[in-house]
Assembly symmetry: C2
Homo-oligomer: 250 residues x 2
DNA sequence: GTCTATATGGAGATAGAC
DNA sequence: GTCTATCTCCATATAGAC
């Protein structure tokens, strides 16, 4: 009995002190594990115990490094948002520089906005893949989608929309925002990589084939923007809607 | 002490037996409460205790009527999917009848697909609103998006895509599926009504303004489909991609 | 069909030793 | 900065009385 207990203690004893400098820090290990598990199962479906076990660290360290589980999520989202926003702003500026003094094409602007995301999800490794799958869930969450996406991505999106205005002269502001909204939905559903399109197409298309997505998303979205901004006749709008709108605007 | 206990028991005693025929059944009360709470907070964030309390019924009745919490979710999703699928198939058939012997226009097909959803979310009451917000989360869930959307909506989506083929003659099958994917993302993000576009636009657009969405979604999506299916030159595709694709297809 | 009562396990968070 | 140990509360699910 005693020797068993001693063995067990000896086996379960782990080295104290900070981890070797070669590996990731505890903080990063927790962030990595949380990112992966939140993305796979959803924030509420994962416990901090599961996260710390996957990270190979003690449960209490989430409290020490982040305070609460919610703060851990915030830090997961923030970590890569910074890198992403910097790269996208740089790409947008480059596109503007390249086209100056004209406006860049619609396609060039959309590419600057979407390519950094699809490219990192595709080739940035498992961490980036998980991050974007998590973004898909957050964006579509009634509970926190509005606040969190605004918090982490607003400056970039505002810059993107500002760049679109000269590319779509005369476009109604509301058409611009709604067009962006459709882009956002199409993009984030792509990140989720649910396998839905694989089922639907009998294997002809694959959720994970992000190169196919990017190649198609730019012309699809650009055509959508143009269709909304260029429409002059409202032939496809039902008469009832026209009457209602006329009444609202008096 | 004794009189207190008796009072408490007397106050907490509820009428036995089935509820009056005028109101909703217990089963429906649970489904309604679950639908609303799942939509607002997410499946894993809501306990069956919270659901049954909101429904005004006993905790154990979830087990009696549905078995498990997961089965409760399945029943929530299934309940309205049936109604929805029937209406959408009927609308699609009507559009085809109306245009015969020609194919309906792209716009007419997309309208048959999206209008029943946006209209019910807009004017169907709180239950429908919650249902669609839940669909937005499920569709974007890495965990269950692929399986569940396939399970509840595949026949309608397959019929929709079949109707699109003659409206887009010569369109590559993959372009068709990816175009549908973009539509799905744009549509379900709309259902989430996160308030994101309200923030972004400074109040100019409102997430809840589904009439504005529908009016714009049809031309936006139609233009996207056409842009993908019509593209002959691949000028916007980087040379590296063309080389890779050529190599894959040998 | 509905209720009481409970089995069984896990959750988030933290105090305090090291 | 990390670990042990524990507090407090809540989760899903079900057995059995009515």
């Amino acid at each position: 009995m005693i020797s068993n207990a001693v063995q067990k203690t000896a086996r379960s004893r782990k080295p104290r002190g900070p981890r070797p400098a070669g590996g990731r820090s505890t903080r990063e290990r927790i962030l990595d594990a949380a990112e992966k598990l939140f993305a796979r199962k959803g924030f509420h479906a994962v416990s901090v115990r599961t996260i710390t076990k996957a990270a190979g660290v003690d449960v209490a360290l989430v409290n020490y490094h982040f305070g609460t589980k919610q703060a851990l999520l915030d830090n997961v989202l923030l970590r890569r948002a910074k890198l992403l926003n910097d790269e996208r702003m740089e790409r947008l500026r480059a596109a503007i520089r390249l086209a100056a003094p004209e406006s860049p094409t619609l396609e060039a602007i959309i590419d600057a906005f979407t390519h950094p995301l699809l490219d990192r999800s595709d080739r940035g490794g498992a961490g980036w893949k998980a991050y974007f799958a998590l973004i898909a869930q957050v964006n579509n969450s009634s509970e926190m989608g509005g606040a969190m996406m605004t918090r982490y991505f607003d400056p970039v999106v505002q810059a993107f929309i500002a760049a679109l205005r000269p590319a779509l002269p005369g476009c109604d502001e509301r058409d611009l925002y709604w067009s962006y909204h459709f882009l956002s939905g199409a993009l984030t559903l792509t990140f989720a990589e649910t396998g839905r399109i694989d089922n639907l197409s009998g294997g002809l298309c694959r959720s994970s084939d992000l190169e196919s997505v990017h190649e198609r998303m730019v012309p699809y979205v650009a055509a959508g923007f143009r269709a909304l901004c260029d429409r002059r006749d409202r032939a496809s709008v039902p008469p009832a809607t026209l009457r209602r709108r006329a009444a609202q605007h008096k």
